[in-house]
Symmetry: C2
DNA sequence: CCGTCATGTCACCTTTCGGTTACATATGGC
DNA sequence: GCCATATGTAACCGAAAGGTGACATGACGG
């Protein structure tokens, strides 16, 4: 299996996905693999080319988009690998919750934490 | 099945996950369901209580954390539901890619887009 | 060549994020 | 009642996000 994502890589992927315009760019590239920058821009009436390029930079930084220069244009593709890696990680990380066993335990309000002794004044505030 | 997440809900969930401290808070609550705010704060030496509370607000806004007031303290639980919803969505959205059929097609550089006619001057820039 | 087109880059602006300190409120326990 | 504790809230601050217009570069094509 591929090496798991590092924390900063997870930051980049989730941050890239946490934006509706960027998710829409991915949708465009799924429908039109190899589209160039201007072609992507054509889908956004409310945003200029520079803004789209910044979104593309975020997506490339997260490795969700790969590009290749061809002459004077840059062709773009969606790359599903980072999403697959998170998917795999979640499969193992949350399968117990989704089986329902831990979830039920979770919501039993009686399992309050053991009383904790913090230093006087609580936690600086 | 539960209704799919709205775009702004997706924004909230991904944005909440796009932060290593917030992911660590979820880890804490997975290990200590029902912990209170100060208990969570005790895990973060480099951050004050107010900062932790802001992160908790982001997580609650994404419904990744649920809380219940008990006397003078607030007890916190991790809620796996939003992650499960994204997981389900990805299962259907990307299963073709992960099967490998489309992925191979994607990376064939020959499938460049059909030439596009944009208005003169390209896309305002 | 020379103009057009696709892209890259720069400087700037406004809003949001992520943290801080200080103060306010409310509960629990002696 | 009184005081310590747990949490909430307000005001502030620097940095980063997300947008803009203007300009620079470099490839295509007649």
């Amino acid at each position: 299996m591929a090496p798991p994502l590092q924390p900063d890589e997870m930051d980049a992927v989730f941050a890239a996905l946490a934006s509706e315009p960027r998710r829409r760019i991915l949708d465009v590239l799924k429908k039109e693999p190899g589209a160039n920058v201007n072609r992507v821009c054509a889908f956004f009436d409310d945003m200029g080319r520079v803004a789209v390029m910044k979104h593309l930079a975020a997506l490339e930084g997260a490795n969700l988009v790969v590009s290749e220069k061809s002459g004077r244009e840059r062709l773009l593709w969606f790359n599903p690998v980072p999403i697959h890696m998170i998917y795999d990680r979640w499969t193992t990380e949350f399968s117990d919750y989704w089986a329902g066993r831990l979830a039920r335990m979770k919501y039993t309000l009686e399992n309050a934490p053991v009383p904790i002794k913090t230093r006087k004044g609580g936690h600086r505030g």
